[in-house]
Each structure stands twice: as structure tokens, then as C-alpha cells.
Symmetry: C2
Subunit: 352 residues, 2 copies
DNA sequence: TTGTAGGCGTTATCAG
DNA sequence: CTGATAACGCCTACAA
């Protein structure tokens, strides 16, 4: 249709490239690159011109091309067993917001809870050249990650300071850790339950392979002992509502029941409460007191109004992002650590 | 430390590249590439050898390099206002699983609900060269997406067949649609409520700018009319528990109340129920009947046990993935459409 | 401050 | 079936 038919014009509109912008601005390709890099030196008016033309053409630097040479993909991988578990989705939400603010995008990977990290998933992930990896799935050791994930730097969330990390001795891999000190919050929970007369406690666990669960159980038992309370019953769980419900029914139908239940997570506590109220005809908190862990949004809903140990999500995400950025700035820095506190949020499931 | 000090050896172990594998296998770089592409022709034993050596070296093709030439990033962008909203997180979970199975990774982007799509976010996203984009945020028109997102193909979820799409007339952009037929499910809901004696209805909306909400309200009113029922009261909402709770309190404290409430989503219905039961001293379903929309996992929890209109998540995700794959196979195919049905799940919040 | 040359890791193309 | 060569879009290094 144009006066001088041109093969290029026949093609459908391709994405504008740096060359296109350069040609229109009468500068070199490199100048365009510099215009988009704040640190590069470039005469202000030239930069402004380039940016203006780029905007008109809808040009954006291609991350793939950039990643090839800078070795920074600006991609952060997040490994989760269940995006739809409330706690995880709330964490992913906050994390994505924070990372986006720093120019990183969140890449989601799912792994099954019930088995150890799939090797195929790892090699698959490696292909994307992630800058960092946050493994919420606790069935994967940081060594495995370090070993199989190129330049990505894993961050490991652990729940005690004495290094209960599943890494082989003699490992040379450096990994950063976010330590969650759960003892404070759990102690407050036990104290409150004890004060309201609980004598027989049960601990409803999460997935047994989960480090968070293992450490939570250990801390709970330890605190029970410190307070001169008898060893708690331990109920099998997997962080789900359904299992929590079933385990609670078992506890009261087969056994003699208890008067205080501490659940490894909030969703489990919901299952406990519903089993007590709707299947066993018991009152919460009058007959049985219940405490959860996480303080997800749903715990504030009036039907549950759950007393629970809170991990501050904003703090947690900020700490994670700090770790990521510091590690990216200096890949050879020694292992870094951030510590997080927990505290009890008192609502209506412990009382008289 | 080695006998012949070598500069390369001094560096810390870099990721293995195709050349490394090629050298060790005694083949060309291209052969390595072919070994990882099932369709390429390569003698079986040669492929096996290459794959074996690649595994030993921990080599995986680099997606960035590959994307540069194939123009396929294997990245699918998902735009959401709230990852932590249960419905969205459940959808993202299912979608990630499905996409992962097809070799695509899910890239998460957050946009604020309360304002139209940020242009900065769009250019930011473009840089990642997404293969496809699913906009759950309904405040962004497909035209905007098509215009500013290079080769990515947006998929649009709409809620009526008569094209209530916010695209400018004269637009030439092709976009695929997933149509959710909500009338069937809503009609079943109204029929049930009516059968149990509801006379005065209220509709609790979601975010007013949300297409899902607009169409849900329209369908609800339309069905009310068809059944000879009076126009429903419309309550302001934004899909959140808190707002639903407050709106319900208003409704009964300022006005005369109603005996049937239809909420634009399940979480809103939870807020309604809790307001009725815990703040207003009313019984559900005896005094007021409540129906939700979505059928999230929490709706089955005994404290709510919500009667709700279900969109089958598995169906929905399968349809989305079908659209993505078909469009990727033939970028110039005419616009495609998938349709989804809804149906009522009867639980305990409508009855006598 | 600016431009030129080279290469990041991969696949498409073409020749054998 | 296989290999050499030339891109893909970008940035770093160097030279002017």
C-alpha cells in the first residue's frame, strides 16, 4: 500500500527494539541502552529524547536479552506446595508486592507436599535462571537447591537457632536464613491456656516432614515441661481443615479428650473448633480451649475469632526481601541471618 | 592447586553450557540443542549420550537464550489484585499446576483494585516477554493489554455472551474469551431461596468496577424479575469480609432488613453470616437465608456450611490452558471462546 | 559523553 | 542425520 512496497512493512508489527529507537533518535544502540540505565552517563537532553521516542514506540528493554549478559534475570522463584493455603497465599501476596517494588517478578512453582522435591522440577526451574529462590516447601534442603540451581541463591526459613537444618555435614554451600523464634509466642499461648485452667493438652501437628511443624512441636513440649505440665497428646495432622476435624473426632470418641488444643496452624485450629462445636457438642472456649498459629486473616472472622500465635507477615516479607537484595549485591558475602519474633494475639477461643 | 594453574579453574563453578556438553560428547553445539528438543531428528544413541552427559554436568537449556531466538519465553503472566483472596489463590494454584505440566511457568503481578491498570506495571511486564497473560484484574481492558504487551496474548474472562467487553469500538485486536454463564446457577439459587419463603432480597455486590460483579448483579435482577419478585436491595461491597459485615449491619440497623441475601462472592457471604449471627442475633437460615458465589474450599467448613453457586475450578483452569495453548500454536487464528457453566451447591444456609 | 566491537546461550537455516 | 553459520536483543569493555 505504501509508495515503495517494503517487505518489512508487510510483517505484522513486531515489538520495537533498541535499534529502532536508536535510528529514530539519531543515536547509537548503546545510547538507548544507557538511557534506560540510570547509572550510565548520558547527556540529559539526549536521554530525555530517547526515553520520549521509546515511549512513543512502546519500547521496553527485553529482560531476556539483558539477562543473557548481566546474568541477572530479575526473577525470583517461589516454591510452594499449596498456593491456596491461606497462610501461604498471604505470604506470596505480600512478597510479590515487595519484590515488584524492587523490580523483581515472582515466579511460582508448585511441588507436592507428600514427597521430596522432584528433581525434574529443579532442572526445569534452573532453566529460568532465577536470581533467588524462596522455598516455602520445607521438604527440600538448601543444599539440594544450591547444588542444582545455578546462580540462584536459596533462602531458608528455619525455626530454631541451633541449626536444625537438613544439610549434610561438610557442605560448603552458603545459604541465608530467616529464623523464626516461635518460643515467645508459644509460651504466651501456653501461659494463657494454663491460666484459664487447662490441664490436659493436645498438640495438633502439621505435615510431619515439615520443619516448621517439627520445631513447633519441640518448642511446645519444651515449654510444657518448663511450666511443669504433663506431656501433651500429639495428634497427626497435615495443616488441613479436614484432617484436623477428623483427628479431633478421633481424640474425643476413642480417647478421653482434652481441655486444651494447640494447633500447628490456624486452618487446623478451625477444623478443631468445628469438630468440637458441630460434631461433638462441646463449647469453645468453655469446654475446650483452642490456640492456632500464623494469625491469618480468617482468624479474625467472628465465627472462629481465634486466639493465635502471630508471625508478622510484613516483618517477615521485609526480612526476606532484605536477604535477597543483600545477597544479590554481594554474592560472596558470608551467610546472613534475619530473626523474627512471634507473639500471642488474644481473641475468643481461650477464656472461660 | 592444579598442576597447571589455569585461570578458568580459579573461577567458581559456572553453570554448564551447551558447548561444554558438546565438547565432552564429541558433538556439535547444535546436536545438544536437538537432544533437548524431542521433535528434532537425532540418532537415538547420540541423543542418549548427550542427555547422560548433560545430566552429569547438571546442564539445562537456558530459557533466556532460547527465548531470544524462538520468541517463546514459556512465561505466562497472571495479573491479580489480591493473591490472598481465597478464590483467586485457589485459581492461581490450579493454574500454576496445569501450566507447569505444559512447561510454562507462572509469573505473578499485582495491581491495585482501586485504580485502573498502572501503565508502569504494563511496561514492566512487557520486558519479560510473556507468552500469554491472564488478567483476573478486571479493571484492565484487553485492548490495553494487546496494545502494550508485545507478543503476549491476553485472555479475558467475561460473564455474559453479549459482549459486554470494555473495548473501544473499531478495535482490531483479537482476544480470546472465557465466558462464564452464571444465569443457571443464580436461577437455581433464587429458586431455592424463594421456595423456602424469601420475600425481600438483597444483593451484596463486589467491587463496583469489577465486570464479574456488574454481570452478576444484572443476572440476579433479571432472574428476580422473571420470577415475579420485587427488585432487590443493593448493598455496596468490595468482595471483602469486613465490608460485607459492615454493610449487613447497616442494612438491619438503618433499614428494615431482608430475609434473603445473595452475595457476589463467598467471602462476602461469610461476612454477612457473621454479622447476622454474632452482631444482630439473627439465625441463618431460619431468619435470613444466605447464598454465596464461587464455592471456595472454606464454604464447606462447618461454621459457615454455605449454600453457593459453584464455578468449577478444574473446568475453568482447563479451559484457560486450552485457550493459551491453542493461541500459541496459531497466533493468527480468529478469536476463540470457551464457555463455562455454573450450578448451585446446596448446603446449610438456605432452609427452614 | 559517545560510538564500535564482541559476546552472553540458544535455535533456525542451510548445506552436506 | 549432522554440522557450520548467523542471528535473537542486550550490555560491558574499550577506544575516541
Amino acid at each position: 500500500m505504501s509508495e515503495h512496497p517494503n517487505i518489512q512493512e508487510a510483517k505484522r508489527p513486531e515489538r520495537a527494539t533498541a535499534d529502532t529507537v536508536a535510528k529514530l533518535a539519531g543515536v547509537s544502540r548503546v545510547a538507548v541502552s544507557r538511557a534506560f540505565n540510570p547509572h550510565a552517563s548520558l547527556k540529559k537532553e539526549k536521554r530525555d529524547l530517547i526515553l520520549k521516542i521509546a515511549k512513543e514506540l512502546g519500547y521496553t528493554p527485553d529482560m531476556a536479552g539483558r539477562a543473557l549478559v548481566t546474568r541477572r534475570s530479575h526473577l525470583v522463584g517461589v516454591i510452594v506446595p499449596d498456593v491456596c493455603s491461606p497462610w501461604e497465599s498471604q505470604e506470596i501476596d505480600a512478597l510479590t508486592t515487595a519484590l515488584q517494588g524492587e523490580g523483581f517478578a515472582t515466579l511460582l512453582f508448585k511441588t507436592r507436599t507428600d514427597q521430596s522435591m522432584d528433581e525434574r522440577l529443579l532442572t526445569y526451574m534452573k532453566g529460568f535462571n532465577l536470581d533467588s529462590i524462596i522455598a516455602f516447601a520445607e521438604n527440600v534442603s538448601p543444599d539440594t537447591l544450591t547444588h542444582s540451581l545455578g546462580r540462584a541463591v536459596p533462602i531458608y526459613v528455619s525455626y530454631s537457632e541451633d541449626g536444625s537444618l537438613p544439610n549434610q555435614p561438610g557442605s560448603t554451600s552458603v545459604f541465608d536464613r530467616l529464623i523464626v523464634d516461635q518460643k515467645t509466642g508459644i509460651d504466651q499461648a501456653v501461659a494463657l491456656m494454663q491460666a484459664y485452667g487447662c490441664r490436659n493438652f493436645a498438640y495438633l501437628g502439621g505435615t510431619t516432614t515439615s520443619l516448621a511443624n517439627t520445631e513447633r512441636e519441640r518448642a511446645f513440649k519444651c515449654i510444657m515441661k518448663e511450666r511443669g505440665l504433663p506431656d501433651p497428646l500429639v495428634l497427626q495432622g497435615d495443616y488441613t481443615y479436614e484432617t484436623a476435624l477428623a483427628s479431633t473426632l478421633d481424640l474425643f470418641k476413642v480417647g478421653e479428650g482434652v481441655d486444651g488444643i494447640f494447633s500447628a496452624n490456624d486452618v487446623g485450629a478451625f477444623g478443631v473448633i468445628d469438630a468440637l462445636r458441630f460434631q461433638l457438642g462441646l463449647r469453645v472456649p468453655e469446654d475446650v480451649k483452642v490456640v492456632g498459629f500464623d494469625d491469618i486473616a480468617q482468624s479474625g472472622w467472628l465465627s472462629y475469632n481465634l486466639t493465635t500465635v502471630k508471625i508478622d507477615l510484613e516483618d517477615r516479607v521485609r526480612a526476606l526481601v532484605r536477604l535477597i537484595l543483600r545477597r544479590l549485591k554481594d554474592p560472596n558475602a558470608p551467610a546472613m541471618t534475619e530473626t523474627l519474633q512471634t507473639r500471642l494475639i488474644v481473641r475468643g477461643t481461650v477464656g472461660s
